[in-house]
Each structure stands twice: as structure tokens, then as C-alpha cells.
């Protein structure tokens, strides 16, 4: 993985990935989600995960982020000058990749009591060592673009509407210029104007060279940003 060649190198390279859930609390039921999954994603492109509900798209996204632990295979992420396999990496390496390289926008905001909206959005940059004032300036710009009213910035988003929470979550996910972005339904529950803004943010991320992997149920949104589709198909269920 260290050879310098002129051929473009993927930002994320998934090799033979396998994930099965074993539910010990339910009699050891085995739920295979995917197996032998292989995918390369290059800088500047957006790959949309495609498949019916329950096929394992979100599970794949979470496995790339090392939130879920695949059973076998590799998730090779180009991290600065090195390559990290998210499946076998140590917790410290995974946290370093998440801080610097890989952003993940989930469908739901995890609200922390008493932490203001502005600080939630600025936090990833501050963790990276950006001066707090600069990080907050970036946070204000994103919140403005995503039409979160300024009077809400000092409040914890626990009482915000679903759409507002989702936009705070997106602002946080886009605060750092991550080389890799994982997006789980970023435009769900947004109105047309905000959906357009999110699509703009994704397009800008691609233009600066980010590799984007996303789940978009909305066909128009998918068509607007995705360069290609990657099919995630349900594994036929088998007797355990």
C-alpha cells in the first residue's frame, strides 16, 4: 500500500467484508448481513449505497466507521501518509481516523445535556486543535447556511424539531474538511430549501476531493450528487 504510482488510489478500499450479527439474548440467532463485499471509493466521487430497506446499507456504513465490528475482511482507509484497516486497528488508531479523516453523519443527533448547538458543531474542529474562536466562526457559517435561527445557537438541541436536529448534525459532520464522508440519509426530514443546501455541501466536499459514501432514499437527491450506485443486496436467510 506504500508504492507511489500515478494511478489514482482509493480513499477507501473495502475488501471481502463480512458481517453477521449473533443475538445471544434471542437463542443465538444468526443474522448474516453481507459477505464478500468489495468496494473502492476514490477521492472526489460520491458512491450511493443502493438496495431495499433492511439490506444492510446502514450496517455497511457503520462498519466502515468501525462503529460495528465486521467478522472478517478489511476496510482500508487512506489516513494521511498511512493506511489504516478499520477492522483490525486499535481503538487509538480508529479514534485518530475519526478525528482527522473520516466523518460520519448519522440519521439522529445524539444530544448531550447542556451543550449548546454552537459548541456541538464546533467541537470536532476544536478537538483537532483549531482555535475555539475560529472553530465557532466556521460553526456559525454552517448553521447560517443550514437556516438554524441564531437565537437557537446558545441552546442545547434537545428540544429542537427533528429537522432542526438533523441540520445541526449535518453542520457538525461538515465542520471538518474530512477526506472521507459517510452520510446516512442526510436529506431525510428536510424541506426543499435545506435539502438543496445539503446537496450543495456534498458537491463542495466532492470538489475539494472528499470521497463520499452515502445512503439517499430520495431519488432526486441521489441523482444530484451520486456518481455511481453500489448495490447492497440482502443475504438470503439460511437455517442457523
Amino acid at each position: 500500500m506504500t508504492n507511489q504510482t500515478n494511478a489514482p488510489r482509493p480513499a477507501v478500499s473495502v475488501r471481502d467484508l463480512e458481517k453477521t450479527f449473533v443475538l445471544h439474548t434471542q437463542g443465538g440467532a444468526r443474522l448474516p448481513v453481507f459477505a464478500g463485499l468489495t468496494l473502492d471509493v476514490f477521492p472526489g466521487e460520491c458512491v450511493a449505497l443502493h438496495g431495499p430497506s433492511g439490506a444492510g446499507k446502514s450496517t455497511l456504513l457503520r462498519s466502515l466507521y468501525a462503529n460495528y465490528k465486521p467478522g472478517s475482511g478489511q476496510v482500508l482507509v487512506r489516513h494521511g501518509d498511512s493506511t489504516v484497516d478499520m477492522v483490525s486497528a486499535t481503538p487509538h488508531q480508529i479514534l485518530a481516523v475519526r478525528r482527522h479523516t473520516m466523518g460520519y453523519v448519522s440519521q439522529f443527533l445524539r444530544v448531550i445535556p447542556r451543550v449548546s448547538t454552537l459548541d456541538i458543531v464546533a467541537e470536532p474542529l476544536i478537538t483537532l486543535g483549531t482555535a475555539p474562536e475560529e472553530a465557532r466562526a466556521r460553526a456559525r457559517a454552517l448553521l447560517t447556511r443550514l437556516r438554524i435561527a441564531e437565537r437557537l445557537w446558545s441552546l442545547a438541541p434537545a428540544t429542537f424539531s427533528g429537522g432542526e436536529q438533523q441540520r445541526v448534525n449535518i453542520a457538525r459532520g461538515f465542520s471538518v474538511p474530512y477526506p472521507v464522508l459517510l452520510l446516512d440519509e442526510p436529506t431525510a426530514s428536510l424541506d426543499a430549501a435545506n435539502r438543496a443546501t445539503v446537496l450543495e455541501l456534498i458537491t463542495e466536499a466532492k470538489q475539494r476531493g472528499a470521497a463520499v459514501i452515502g445512503i439517499f432514499h430520495d431519488a432526486d437527491a441521489r441523482a444530484a450528487v451520486a456518481d455511481r450506485l453500489f448495490d447492497v443486496l440482502p443475504v438470503p436467510s439460511q437455517a442457523a
Partner: protein
């Protein structure tokens, strides 16, 4: 962007403790890095508190080693150094936050003195400086300065816990042990304390080992988790991995037993 290899602050090897023939904890090994928060979760009786006592020099383990990278003297083998050396270490580089503030505070002296005496124990002598620092720390844990001369027993449970935290942090320790720091507090008080802890841990770059049976507390504070059952570690990993994709049957049971609000 190269990864800077760090030296662990604490290295634990094969730590085992028996109370007579009864197992406390068995064969626990892990590294803790500077700035890292490690959560130890499991139900009552799982060995969490025994482990914490063995880690924090309050309980001689039956076997195993605890190696601590000290500020000035390199690596110290905790149970091989002299008692006075160990005491000095606990006073200058470590802090312990007990579940019950009464175990960590002196209830018969004022709030200010609770903080000040820790400074005096590490050599501070100037009364004005000590009082200023005490008031500064009361402010940082959100206790107003007009309570400086009050006894802790006139404080609410949440305030007592915040005072205990200030008493621990005033000497600028590098490693803090916490045993159920939010246990027994109302949820609103808990949220305030957690937020305070979160801020202090990240702004001071503290390393923390926190024992809790509350998975929500673990999720909020800990980078990594160790799940204990019957004295042994059954699962470890990043906090979100362990809670979102638990593999061990016992961890799955713990996670699935949490009531959704």
C-alpha cells in the same frame, strides 16, 4: 500526519485479587494513555470496585502488576515501591472521586479548607494564594464564592460531589479514579455533573478510569469500555462499538436491558 507513538500512562498486567478463596477480579490487563477515559462497566458484584481499588493503590492485589509512568521518576511499579512513595504519588499525581462524597471530603471543615488542605499537603503555604485558588476552583465546579466558608454538610448531594471533584483537581493530578461519581444523584443534577466532568477532562487532558453501572454515563464520558462479569473482563473496545455492536452474551444482555426513555 504521522501517528506519534505515545507511552501509556498506566500499564496493568494480569491483575488478580482474591478475598480468601473468593474471586474479586482475575487476570485484568490493559494500557491507559494520556488523555484517555476508560470506563469499567458491569453489574454490582462483577468486580469493578475491587479492580478500581487494586488499580488505585488501595488494595494490594494477590498477583499482577500496575506500572505508572510518573512525571519525574519514570515508570513506577506501584506495589513494589515504598508506602511513603506511593502516598506521595497519590497526593501529587492521582485523584480519587468516591461515589459517596462523605468518603472523599472532610465534613467538619469548610468547603474552602477542603480544597486548601490538598494544596497544603503538596507544600503550599501562602494563605492568600491558597484561598484564591480554592475560590477559583469552587467557581470552576459552579459553587459560588459566598459558600467558601460553609461546611460541606450544608451542601446538596450534587454540590458535595462537585466539591469533591474540585478537591481532587486542585493539585493538578494526571490520573483520576472515579467510582460511580453520579450514583445517587437526581438525573438533572447528574447531567450537570457529567457536563462539568466532560469539560474538565478534555480541557485538562486528564486520564480517567471510571467505574459505572450506568451505560449512558459510560457513553458520554468514556473513550473505551471494559465490560466485567464475575471478576473477569468479557469484552473491551471503543465505547460506541461495545454499546452499539456488543458481541459477548453478557454485554448484549446489559445493553438490551437498558430502558428507553
Amino acid at each position: 500526519m504521522t501517528m506519534i507513538p505515545q507511552t501509556p500512562l498506566l500499564r496493568v498486567e494480569g491483575l488478580t485479587h482474591y478475598y480468601g478463596s473468593r474471586l474479586g477480579c482475575r487476570d485484568v490487563s490493559f494500557d491507559l494513555y494520556p488523555g484517555e477515559v476508560l470506563g469499567i462497566v458491569g453489574e454490582s458484584g462483577s468486580g469493578k470496585s475491587t479492580l478500581l481499588s487494586c488499580l488505585s493503590a488501595r488494595q494490594d492485589p494477590s498477583s499482577g502488576r500496575v506500572l505508572y509512568q510518573s512525571r519525574h521518576d519514570g515508570e513506577i511499579d506501584l506495589y513494589r515501591v515504598s508506602e511513603p512513595r506511593r502516598r506521595l504519588l497519590m497526593r501529587t499525581e492521582w485523584g480519587i472521586v468516591h461515589q459517596n462524597p462523605r468518603d472523599g471530603l472532610r465534613m467538619t471543615v469548610s468547603a474552602g479548607a477542603n480544597i486548601g488542605e490538598r494544596l497544603m499537603a503538596v507544600g503550599a503555604r501562602h494563605y492568600g494564594d491558597i484561598r484564591d485558588q480554592a475560590i477559583d476552583w469552587l467557581g470552576r465546579v459552579e459553587i459560588s464564592d459566598d459558600r467558601t466558608d460553609d461546611l460541606p454538610r450544608t451542601f446538596s448531594g450534587g454540590m458535595q460531589q462537585r466539591l469533591q471533584i474540585a478537591r481532587n483537581l486542585v493539585t493538578q493530578p494526571r490520573l483520576i479514579f472515579m467510582d460511580e461519581p453520579t450514583g445517587g444523584l437526581d438525573v438533572s443534577v447528574q447531567a450537570r455533573l457529567l457536563d462539568l466532568l466532560r469539560g474538565l477532562v478534555s480541557s485538562l487532558g486528564l486520564s480517567v478510569i471510571i467505574v459505572t453501572h450506568d451505560l449512558a454515563v459510560a457513553r458520554l464520558l468514556a473513550h473505551r469500555l471494559m465490560v466485567m462479569k464475575e471478576g473477569q473482563v468479557v469484552e473491551t473496545g471503543l465505547t460506541d462499538q461495545v454499546l452499539d455492536d456488543p458481541h459477548h452474551p453478557y454485554t448484549q444482555l446489559l445493553v438490551s436491558s437498558v430502558l428507553q426513555v
